[in-house]
């Protein structure tokens, strides 16, 4: 199997090998390769319709890939569904907050702790054991800064607070790998900042993959970035690598038909093909 071409020395926590997703004639994800080393933070970006959401859904286990493999810590999980992947330590957040809305914040996290460390099917209460589960849940709430909202119904939390609760929920499952799905969408600047701090403070045992539109957040958090355009991986590297990459800029600044330059001070801003790598040509 092909490891990342960037010469990873750290052990890969996530490996995506030639992943393809096809809907009939439409190829949403086209032979994507991805390697994320343990403990690192990796971002997945790309312009509209690049296939990020599809790739995310395949990684999370909600959609089955057409071909290709997904490995977590060396173990092939391609055939596993959401539940199976969650049990192997792959957790995802949801864009449209799918929390247990009618339950309090602590009860939300309790469900995750119970599932991980308790007996979620026990039909009678046990003071000692239930107390311990509650305490663990409270720890996670404190980690994300929601202690003061412990008993408040998830529905009554602000958007940013719900996102914090999501993180608490995910952390309570002791994940090895967390997939964040546009986590700062709909957040104010202050909430975004708080969220970024939260992610930065995650323990090194947690590997993070973030799909994001907000490039400030991406550049702040990501150690490596993969850029998708039209379903294909067009660039992978450090934030500086990606910023300088012509193909990436092409993909973002859709030039359309290229008779005359769009911008008068940059006559060379159109269709530059890298001589060595055909894969990086922006498909038209």
């Amino acid at each position: 199997m092909s490891a990342g071409a960037m010469g990873e020395t750290a052990k890969p926590m996530l490996q995506v090998v030639d992943l393809t997703l096809r809907y009939g004639a439409l190829t949403a994800v086209d032979s994507v390769n991805l390697t994320v080393s343990a403990g690192s933070r990796h971002a997945l970006i790309g312009p509209n319709g690049a296939g990020k959401s599809s790739l995310f859904a395949v990684l999370g286990g909600t959609i089955r890939a057409t071909t290709g493999q997904i490995l977590i810590d060396g173990e092939d999980v391609t055939a596993q569904n959401e539940v199976g992947r969650a049990r192997r330590g792959l957790l995802r957040t949801f864009q449209h907050s799918s929390l247990f809305m009618g339950l309090s914040a602590v009860d939300n996290v309790r469900l995750a702790v119970e599932r991980k460390e308790g007996s979620p099917l026990r039909p009678w209460p046990s003071r000692r054991r239930d107390r311990r589960v509650t305490e663990r849940a409270e720890e996670f709430l404190e980690t994300v800064g929601l202690t003061s909202r412990r008993d408040d119904i998830a529905e009554s939390l602000s958007h940013g607070e719900r996102r914090q609760l999501e993180v608490a929920l995910v952390l309570a499952c002791s994940p090895r790998l967390v997939l964040f799905d546009e986590p700062t969408a709909g957040m104010s600047a202050a909430e975004t900042h708080r969220f970024a701090e939260l992610v930065e403070a995650l323990p090194s045992s947690v590997t993070t993959v973030i799909v994001e539109h907000d490039l400030d957040v991406v550049y702040r958090l990501a150690q490596r970035i993969s850029v998708l355009a039209a379903g294909r991986l067009i660039c992978e590297g450090t934030p500086d690598d990606v910023r300088a990459d012509e193909a990436v800029n092409e993909a973002y600044l859709r030039a359309g038909r290229s008779e005359e330059p769009l911008f008068t001070d940059r006559p060379a801003s159109l269709s530059v093909t890298r001589p060595d790598d055909e894969e990086n040509e922006v498909p038209r």
């Binding site: 509209n48 969408a185 709909g186 909430e191 800029n249 038909r257 769009l262 911008f263 001070d265 801003s269």
Partner: protein
């Protein structure tokens, strides 16, 4: 609220048709449109640019009444319609050509056009006063002969470009003064974008006011007088098209990979 940095609309009446003041909106408590202020004069054509997820579509949907704002005003001809139902916006002369076209698939082209609302009572008076032309199904067919050829085809049988034209035609039949367009080039081949662009150019030339969200910069520059760039829910840059095109670095910073 009129910003002095806004270039005055050239020619015609200097009156403001659409005034968005400190608008705040989002879905389910989230913050997507963050205190946006924007004026569009009669006959102007403004392109709304920005990367994905910055709130462009939400802004249009809030103006049209599909999303309820939490704060701010949307004034159409001086009348505040923030939070009003979409049909109130339509009656005030605002029409939208939404992203993804959203034509009625089981209906024919003809039916799609015929169910668009007719001339309202108030607007008939305006029409008699000669303020702006009135659109009929036939005049829509004149503008877009391709639609006439396909008048008996179902919405689902049309190509992307034809659907886009149908969507535009449907909006025109509301006899709008202001048309909101959300990424008309989305998913269309370059040649088709060209055709749609020609139709839109004709409309712009006829004096229709446009607020256009676009990622295809060539189309945007073709149609607009000025551009407004959004980032994370706010407007971060305003310029005329010539000025914007002269500053590629700025554009790349705002729209590219940063």
């Amino acid at each position: 609220m009129n910003l002095s940095s806004e270039p005055a609309s050239d020619g015609g009446k200097p009156s403001t048709l659409l005034e968005i003041a400190d608008l705040v909106s989002g879905y389910g408590g989230s913050l997507v449109v963050d205190h946006v202020t924007l004026d569009i004069g009669v006959g102007e054509s403004v392109a709304l640019l920005g990367r994905n997820g910055v709130g462009k579509t939400t802004l249009l949907e809030t103006v049209m009444g599909w999303v309820r704002p939490t704060a701010g005003r949307v004034l159409v001809d001086g009348q505040n319609l923030a939070g009003a139902a979409p049909h109130a916006l339509a009656r005030a002369g605002v029409a939208i050509v939404p992203q993804g076209r959203r034509v009625f698939a089981p209906l024919t082209v003809e039916d799609n056009l015929r169910i668009a609302p007719g001339r309202s009572r108030t607007r008939r008076a305006e029409v008699r006063a000669g303020e702006h032309r009135t659109w009929t199904v036939d005049s829509v067919y004149d503008l877009m002969p391709r639609l006439a050829e396909r008048r008996t085809n179902l919405g689902s049988q049309l190509s992307g470009g034809e659907q886009q034209m149908l969507s535009i035609g449907r909006a025109l039949l509301c006899n709008p003064r202001l048309v909101l367009l959300d990424e008309p080039s989305d998913g269309l081949a370059p040649a088709v974008v060209e055709q749609v662009g020609q139709v839109l150019r004709t409309l712009v030339d006829s004096g229709l006011t446009l607020l256009l969200v676009e990622q295809d910069l060539r189309l945007a520059f073709d149609l607009a007088d000025r551009v407004v760039v959004m980032s994370k829910g706010c407007i971060v840059h305003r310029a005329t098209v010539p000025d914007f095109r002269a500053d590629g670095h700025r554009a790349r910073e705002l729209l590219g990979i940063g």
